[in-house]
Subunit: 349 residues, 2 copies
Amino acid sequence: MTSLAVVPGDGIGPEVTREALRVLETIAPAYDLTFTTTEYDLGARRYHASGETLPDAVLEEIRGHDAILLGAVGDPSVPSGVLERGLLLRLRFELDHYVNLRPSKLFTGVPSPLRDPGEIDFVVVREGTEGPYVGNGGALRVGTPHEIATEVSVNTAFGVERVVRDAFARAAARPRKKLTLVHKNNVLVHAGHLWSRTVDRVAQEFPDIAVDYLHVDAATIFLATDPARFDVVVTDNLFGDIITDLAAAITGGIGLAASGNVNPDHTAPSMFEPVHGSAPDIAGQSKADPTAAILSTVLLLDHLGHADAAHDVQQAAEADIAERGSAPRRTEEVGEAIAARVAEGVRVG
Amino acid sequence: MTSLAVVPGDGIGPEVTREALRVLETIAPAYDLTFTTTEYDLGARRYHASGETLPDAVLEEIRGHDAILLGAVGDPSVPSGVLERGLLLRLRFELDHYVNLRPSKLFTGVPSPLRDPGEIDFVVVREGTEGPYVGNGGALRVGTPHEIATEVSVNTAFGVERVVRDAFARAAARPRKKLTLVHKNNVLVHAGHLWSRTVDRVAQEFPDIAVDYLHVDAATIFLATDPARFDVVVTDNLFGDIITDLAAAITGGIGLAASGNVNPDHTAPSMFEPVHGSAPDIAGQSKADPTAAILSTVLLLDHLGHADAAHDVQQAAEADIAERGSAPRRTEEVGEAIAARVAEGVRVG
Ligand SMILES: CC(C)[C@H](C(=O)O)[C@@H](O)C(=O)O
Ligand SMILES: CC(C)[C@H](C(=O)O)[C@@H](O)C(=O)O
């Protein structure tokens, strides 16, 4: 039995989460899986009602689950940063999601904004618990002409090495066996050199992985001009945030981009969520594309050791993507279509 | 008489600088300008010969000039960060280049990697003296499993307000009158909110400027999918570094991207340089495209109050770009062609 903590969240979050769960329910019997779900009301609504973002007791309850499925959090009515830092990032940090996994693939049938995208199929291993995201900043004399605001990026050998090792292991499991470190070690010399030295050292244990390095600014150029060059990218929390949105854009948009906030050591539940936000402008209208949420369940299944089930869902989603036209479909139509393919594929297989 | 400190630098730096100077020499007589140049040997060669990056005495000499023309610095033989921090960033910081100006325009005749780029014509006003670039980082227990490396982003009301004001003034002088703040204020809440509050406040003095805000990750999406939406972008030092390389990529590559490190108060010389690096792989072969260096002289002329001369060079460069085919031309051919157009245009005008 697999227990899922479900955080539908705000805006389109509940709608896309529903479809992700539909697909999980559909795949379950074929692989003898049973999912139990506990829904947690977290996000803007709860914040407005109670001022709470993530109460300690709720965090502890969530911690007792096997995995977390998250829709989207955030609403313009909440000051910027409150839910991001208080809920989303708190979950990532408290549950030690040090591998923020973001695959980018240009699926058959999906138009890229690039004229000549080539075969895009890479995965970004974004560090999830350090870097400029640690929240070690502060401000003095706020609102005066003498205000000073700082943000501290914290990087440790421990934190960098574990995510770098994870990235090498993923590169070793892929056919192209390539790993690119993305940082800015010519300016952020302390953090950057820690990253570079760590990659160089771990690389010695992986002699058949081809390793290269790109400054983050140059990486964006290659994402626009030659994204097929990438296989596995390992990078820090902030650079990973930036380049994965760009990666989503060139592969057809964040409507298709899945992510896993992974604790590879399984010391706490990992969390799976679409890269897109809560899109309040289209919320409640069945206009949201649930594909990214559904693809996030692929990462969830894989993380929980159900690689075959993950494969089936991925195939079903890709088949749907390949055959969907440009006519808009309702959120549940997409979910039903992919679930139907899952059911079919499972019956045949 | 205008005194230029010329820093040709490394790799293709000297080649492209030569062409930029050729164009300046050509435009000069028509506008009664006289340029005197002092060349400074700074970069990898000097570093290897003497260990020096930017001796204080040289900095003081450079300070006595009206402007600086820089080619490119950097070489793989020098540890990453040494020349960047010790020379390039030191010049930007010591000479208070708080406006790092980076226009992005998709010129007629230039292919974009985007399928449907639209009319790209915006300028990024990148802060140049604060943020994560300040070098306020450090490391402990380097090389041990207990290493910790930090990078501190420092942001002040003084520093943010002056660059924001500059950006608003530039937006006011452009037909579309739009300004976009790019930051990450939902995560880097202290720095981000200082930026947001400052933009909101200054905006009240510019009621006819339309202002919006984008997280840096979302900004990269728009640069890939709808770059024509941008007019003036104001952003911090690191985000500006990243998005201007992407902006260069979508407008045909860093071979065409100019930049000005501007001290708008004229308390020290401003510095003009192509966005590209030293490209050691093609150095000395006359393969480098000097267009970005030449377009940087447009920013130089403009900054020194010679708007008409700047306009002429811009027109000449754009005309050359529009008519150059895809056949490779030697560095000096491009310089000569643009200089010839300048001479011609000047004669006609
Ligand atoms: C919402 C925000 C805090 C988050 C991040 O910056 O990590 C988002 O952009 C993402 O990429 O998941
Ligand atoms: C070389 C490097 C220090 C520099 C920067 O990061 O500013 C470059 O990338 C640029 O954009 O001018």
